[in-house]
């Protein structure tokens, strides 16, 4: 049984435009990479609080697009899309990041993975183009819950007979 790391994401603000979140996962790097980049996995973990995911498409190649849509409990559609700029399995992806709820915000998202002693450390970065875009990003409970969901999902893949734990954070 791997340790419970819920809520352990470290959130940092290295400058005015960037947000960096660091999070450990008790899983091999290749599996963590797949869980963040393959639609069949992302579909199960992306929605932070168990929202319905209605679109989850990923064309994992440089120049390829991704598009995720989830519907929150009051019926609001949240659409995230972008284009891959760099892909280096199993350590790194860089992609543009657009959220339709913040039409004036443009950002570049990057994911870097490193494995040591069976623990894979994710460094997730969102770099906004300007202050106006960055100003939207005031809440981090969603990204934390997303990573907690990934942890539970990884555990279910690695130890399918293990005790029931987590799942999407429930009300």
């Amino acid at each position: 049984m791997t340790p419970d790391r819920h809520g352990s994401a470290v959130i940092e603000f290295p400058n005015d435009l960037e947000i960096v979140v660091t999070r450990d996962f008790d899983a091999p790097i290749a599996l963590v990479f797949d869980v963040f980049t393959k639609p069949e996995h992302v579909r199960k973990t992306f929605a932070p609080f168990g929202e319905e995911v209605t679109v989850c498409s990923i064309d994992l190649r440089v120049g390829g697009n991704y598009h995720f849509v989830m519907v929150t409990d009051d019926g609001t559609e949240c659409s995230f899309r972008g284009t891959y700029l760099e892909i280096e399995p199993p350590t790194r992806t860089v992609e543009t990041w657009l959220f339709d709820g913040w039409p004036d915000a443009e950002a570049v998202e990057s994911m870097d993975l490193q494995e040591a002693n069976g623990v894979t450390t994710l460094t997730w970065k969102l770099a906004f183009r300007d202050q106006a875009g960055r100003a939207h990003m005031t809440k981090f409970d969603g990204i934390e819950a997303n990573f907690d969901n990934v942890e539970d999902y990884l555990r279910s893949l690695l130890d399918p007979k293990g005790p029931v734990s987590g799942g999407p954070v429930s009300g």
Binding site: T72, D73, D74, T76, C78, G101, K139, V164, S170, G171
Partner: protein, 122 residues
Amino acid sequence: MPITEYIGAVARASTTSDVFNAIAEAHRREILDALMAGEKTVGAIVNDLSMSQPQVSKHLRVLSEVGLVRCRAEGRRRLYRLEPVRLRPLQEWLVKYEQAWNDRLDRVDDYLQELQQQGERQ
């Protein structure tokens, strides 16, 4: 049904079935507090609190299901307001204990007075 599904179903039922369960979650109490000032949109509640919109929506749904908040549409906006009368069962439950703790506080008072009088005699 498999035990895992059963546990899930019970967990879901218990969070939404009554007012006591609904307010057991700290974030949901924060949302109720935020609505004390009056009717608000989801966006306004999100601005007031440290939760994101999906999380606020999730909790509002639970609060609506037990009738603690009500929602009305105004054009494209959805406005949520508190239904404080739904907290009545809680107050009725608590009031039974009020007498008990008042009695205990009275006894503590008596005891402190006794101690003081003993101190004065010595």
